[in-house]
């Protein structure tokens, strides 16, 4: 990757992105710009294209048309999932996906930034610094007492946090977080919002969410998607007053 001092103007730049499945346009000329260090919430009814958008950014889907750039100059449509992850984009799925038959600490060890080549991995030894880093993250996401438990034994909310921990330890510049508050209690939701606020700033965070309370707690710019394109953008208060937004949400 490039030298550290260069700060890009945009961490993510999407313009005119269209993806269609058998004629149905999941994304329809979508444009979205995220600045370095920004925390951004994306809302929209089901089928608005939120997950498809994440699939395009992380290389799971190729757009039919449109531009997707990371750090101003890296054309993401040219890379696959693993390459994009190594460029510095981390993704948390809607359904928490941790590696259930590995321990909590092992999940973090695998996700930790580092050499991902086959033979380096075969001969890798965990250093004290790495162990230290894993402990820090476990404290941050409140799983210190679950270190040696199997990830599959965690509660739903704990899995969400472990996955967020895996994202952080991967040290991405851009985090894509899909419905982190789904299935969490109010208390857990509040803690998650605070955690995401804390980690943005150093890195950019894009959160897709349905829960309005959660969006309010994030206290950030909101982008509303509808039928694959951007309907409105601005503060939550402003967006909520927007005529078209009200129509889309109440019309359903």
């Amino acid at each position: 990757m490039e030298g550290g001092i260069h700060i890009p103007t945009n961490i993510l730049y999407m313009d005119g992105v269209t993806v269609s499945f058998d004629g149905f346009k999941a994304l329809n000329a979508l444009s979205l710009v995220v600045a370095p260090g920004e925390l951004r919430a994306i809302i929209g009814p089901n089928g608005a294209g939120k997950t498809t958008m994440m699939d395009v950014i992380t290389g799971k889907l190729r757009p039919d048309t449109g531009e997707v750039f990371f750090r101003d100059s890296i054309d993401l449509t040219q890379y696959d999932e693993a390459e994009i992850a190594n460029l510095g984009i981390g993704r948390k799925f809607q359904k928490p996906t941790v590696i259930e038959s590995l321990r909590v600490e092992e999940n973090l060890y695998l996700a930790m930034a580092g050499d991902r080549r086959v033979f380096s991995t075969l001969f890798a030894r965990q250093t004290p610094q790495q162990k230290q880093r894993i402990t820090e993250i476990l404290d941050l996401v409140g799983l210190a007492e679950k270190t040696v438990d199997l990830a599959g034994s965690l509660s739903h909310g704990q899995k969400q946090w472990l996955e967020i921990g895996m994202l952080i330890i991967q040290e991405p510049e851009l985090l894509l977080v899909d419905e982190p508050a789904a299935g969490m209690t109010d208390h857990e939701t509040e803690l998650t919002a605070r955690l995401l606020r804390d980690i943005s700033g150093e890195r950019s965070v894009v959160v897709v969410e349905h829960d309005m309370e959660f969006i309010k707690a994030l206290d950030c710019h909101v982008t509303v998607l509808h039928e694959g394109h951007q309907l409105a953008e601005g503060s939550l208060a402003r967006v909520q007053e927007d005529e078209r937004v009200i129509e889309v949400y109440l019309g359903r």
């Binding site: 992380t58 799971k60 696959d80 999932e81 693993a82 992850a85 190594n86 981390g90 993704r91 799925f93 996906t97 941790v98 590696i99 259930e100 038959s101 590995l102 600490e105 092992e106 060890y109 695998l110 996700a111 991902r116 080549r117 086959v118 991995t121 075969l122 001969f123 890798a124 030894r125 965990q126 250093t127 004290p128 162990k131 941050l140 996401v141 409140g142 799983l143 210190a144 007492e145 679950k146 704990q158 946090w161 895996m166 991967q170 803690l191 605070r194 955690l195």
Partner: protein, 383 residues
């Protein structure tokens, strides 16, 4: 500092038992065969030694399959092909060792080539008069096939049953090819009538015992190699691929490279197993490529317990002992039993004999823990 290996080397009791038992067997059996007079009830016949040697080869083959199936979730229904290729490589060496002692007495050509009126050795038989070259081919022939096949399949993200089906097709195609006389591998008769290996007669008890001991050492070495792989960080990546392949990609691992590595390693281990198998049974023919052979390997692993390594070894030995016994006692029902075994283990023993043992042990231990837990409720996590 690596918690990963600390945990398993200490906890790998099953593996320690396995190594101890195999070591004991390869020490005691040759003594009972060679040093104890045939009249003694403790004497083990040479036939039994070779039979046990065959089981050890199957165990190594099962181990190779468990490495990819149990840990990386790759269900290969064509692993018999790699086993057979290793066997053919060793068979070709032993054919060349026959020299002019064949029926036709040709100094260079194996009998079947003389029979086909061939006048010179095909180019792909060159070098097989050298033992080190043959050993290299035991690894390279299956390794290269697995590399090419795996590279194409994994790069195109062929997974699950689709992958299993094309591995079946692979081994079936290999069988058809090797059945052809003009392939130059002896057609449907295969390679046989071996005389000696490294100058030692294959008929002698000493050689048979040496091959038996060699098979045991290969099994132990294979076990340790697999154990190292699954306990390494790479082993964790494999489990991650097995449980959540797409997640693993998003963490930044090139899943296809990891699958390819472990698939090639497994194919080479299968090749070594084949190379020890052929001199002990005295023949290799295209029947080893038959799809049913590869499916049987899966049954061994399923019965023993997938994802434990030593489970595969136990399964291979149990099922093959059963096969030896029942094909002798009730030959007509063996295939039904084999099928029944697969159904029963899939329905009632999803983690095999070893898994059953583990869950019994665990439920005993949990019963004890539960009582303690009820006294100290779990602490709520803080953030």
């Amino acid at each position: 500092m690596s918690f990963a290996s600390e945990r398993n080397y200490l906890q790998d009791r099953g593996g320690a038992w396995l190594i101890a038992l195999v070591t004991l067997t390869i020490v005691v059996v040759p003594i009972l065969n060679l040093a104890v007079p045939p009249e003694s009830p403790l004497h083990i016949s040479t036939y039994t030694v070779s039979l046990l040697g065959k089981y050890l080869c199957f165990a190594l083959l099962a181990l190779a399959v468990d490495l990819i199936w149990g840990y990386a979730g790759i269900l290969s229904l064509g692993h018999g092909a790699f086993f057979a290729l290793g066997g053919y490589a060793m068979g070709m060496y032993m054919m060349r060792q026959i020299g002019d002692r064949g029926v036709y007495g040709h100094p260079e050509l194996p009998d079947f080539m003389v029979f086909l009126n061939w006048t010179e050795l095909p180019w792909y038989w060159y070098g097989f008069d050298s033992f080190p070259f043959a050993l290299l081919m035991v690894l390279l022939a299956p390794g290269v096939l697995a590399f090419v096949f795996g590279w194409l399949a994994f790069r195109s993200r062929v997974t699950g049953v689709y992958f299993s089906i094309i591995t079946q097709a692979l081994t079936y195609a290999m069988m058809l090819a090797f059945f052809r006389n003009d392939m130059g591998f002896g057609g449907n008769n295969g390679l046989t009538d071996f005389k000696d290996i490294l100058g030692f007669s294959l008929q002698s008890d000493g050689t048979k015992n040496a091959l038996f001991i060699g098979s045991g050492i290969a099994l132990i070495a294979g076990y340790l190699l697999c154990r190292y792989v699954v306990d390494s960080k790479l082993g964790r990546v494999l489990i991650s691929v097995r449980d959540a392949e797409s997640r693993t990609r998003f963490i930044g691992y090139r899943v296809e490279h990891y699958k390819l590595f472990v698939f090639v390693l497994s194919a080479m281990m299968a090749g070594v197993a084949g190379a020890f198998y052929v001199p002990q049974v005295g023949i290799i023919n295209p029947g080893e490529f038959a799809p049913i052979v590869s499916i049987e390997i899966i049954i061994w692993v399923a019965v023993g317990g997938r994802g434990f390594l030593y489970g595969a070894v136990i399964g291979a030995i149990l099922v093959n002992y059963g096969k030896t016994f029942f094909t002798g006692a009730f030959p007509e029902i063996w295939l039904f039993m084999l099928g029944g075994l697969f159904v029963v283990s899939t329905l009632f023993l999803p983690r095999g004999v070893v898994g059953l043992f583990h869950s019994l042990k665990k439920s005993l231990a949990e019963g004890r823990l539960k009582q303690e837990d009820e006294q100290t409720p779990m602490a709520e996590e803080k953030a």
